[in-house]
Symmetry: C2
Subunit: 210 residues, 2 copies
């Protein structure tokens, strides 16, 4: 397999974070694990941030695909919103290394990495699309304001959905909710799933169930 060092470096980085948290991330240790010299990674990437940026890009793509796939399996608006939320927390908990990097702008500044930003935007567009479809089916005539986005009800709902599942994911990963379910990964996922259902009832009380 040619050009394998590049992917080895990315994989080793993710593994390192999963093993010891993002605080344990060191490119020299990554190189060590990949069995190369400490400068080998920088043959493929200009600097450390670019390596992390590539991981973030993969993360957003993965989240996008997981979301699209889960949402495609259901029919009703309410189920779509729920599937979207489930995809988010499952992604966060199962691929926590990716998730953490994706929301740490001091490690990866998306403005310096247009391709990664594009991947993030694609994911966001997908979410907007799903929310629009879910609520559009519920309120077929709802107009889509575009002058002032802050007033756009769709954007508002997107931000509401996103904040809830994002906050839940972040608090779970930080261990802030451990006392309410014990800290094992499976317990976390179960708690997350239950809470997503609750959230969906709250955020989408009027959505058709089927």
């Amino acid at each position: 397999m040619t050009d394998d060092l590049k992917t080895s470096i990315l994989q080793a980085s993710v593994q390192l974070i999963e093993d010891g948290g993002v605080g344990a991330l060191s490119m020299r240790e990554v190189a060590r694990r990949a069995g190369v010299s400490h400068q080998a990674p920088y043959h493929y990437f200009p600097d450390r941030e670019s390596i992390l940026s590539e991981i973030v890009r993969e993360g957003f793509t993965l989240l996008h695909d997981m979301t699209a796939e889960k949402v495609a399996r259901v029919e009703s608006p309410a189920a779509m919103i729920e599937a979207m939320g489930l995809a988010y927390v499952e992604f966060a908990l199962r691929h926590s290394a990716y998730f953490q990097l994706m929301f740490r702008s001091e490690l990866v500044n998306l403005n310096r990495h247009p391709e990664t930003k594009a991947a993030a935007d694609r994911t966001f567009e997908l979410v907007i699309d799903i929310v629009t479809r879910a609520y559009g089916a519920a309120e077929p005539g709802a107009p889509r304001a575009s002058a002032e986005d802050g007033e756009d009800p769709v954007i508002r709902r997107v931000i509401a959905c996103w904040s809830m599942v994002h906050g839940l994911s972040h608090l779970l990963l930080e261990g802030k909710l451990d006392r309410h379910h014990g800290g094992s990964p499976e317990a976390r996922l179960d708690a997350a799933r239950a809470l997503v259902s609750v959230y969906v009832e709250m955020i989408a009380p009027g959505l058709p169930q089927r």
Copy 2:
């Protein structure tokens, strides 16, 4: 002003984060700004994490007090929930250095710092108390389950409130929502305030308005 170096170090640390983000935090730079040698801070603290832990402790205390004060000013259950949410996002945006450290377990592991953990727990207890009072006033007879906390409706609501405002705060601080309001601090706060109102309507649709 005796013993002032200790507080100078804490202040300089916070200032450094506010200036350049948590990535720019360096204890040697802190010492430089305080005008002392690079080891002076470690006369008062055993290690870097303990310095940050002290800041986190102050942060939780500040959040606790801001929340209590804002909630005390209002009467109705709905207004209490809203005041609590506002206190949270305002704290996060106005004291972002504290907020970021408080939710970064790789920098400060609360299990290693019992006093800080106690401050965090006090804040959490306050929130539980507020939610209990707000919903208790709305549903006077509601029982308080305690065997399995995950099933406790109060805890559920607390986590719901918390997730929403925490996710909103985190996304705002990460700049993920900038495109929908422009990135200035004041615009962020305004957007946050508007969204908290929306959230309160969602999470507490049935609460008395006065």
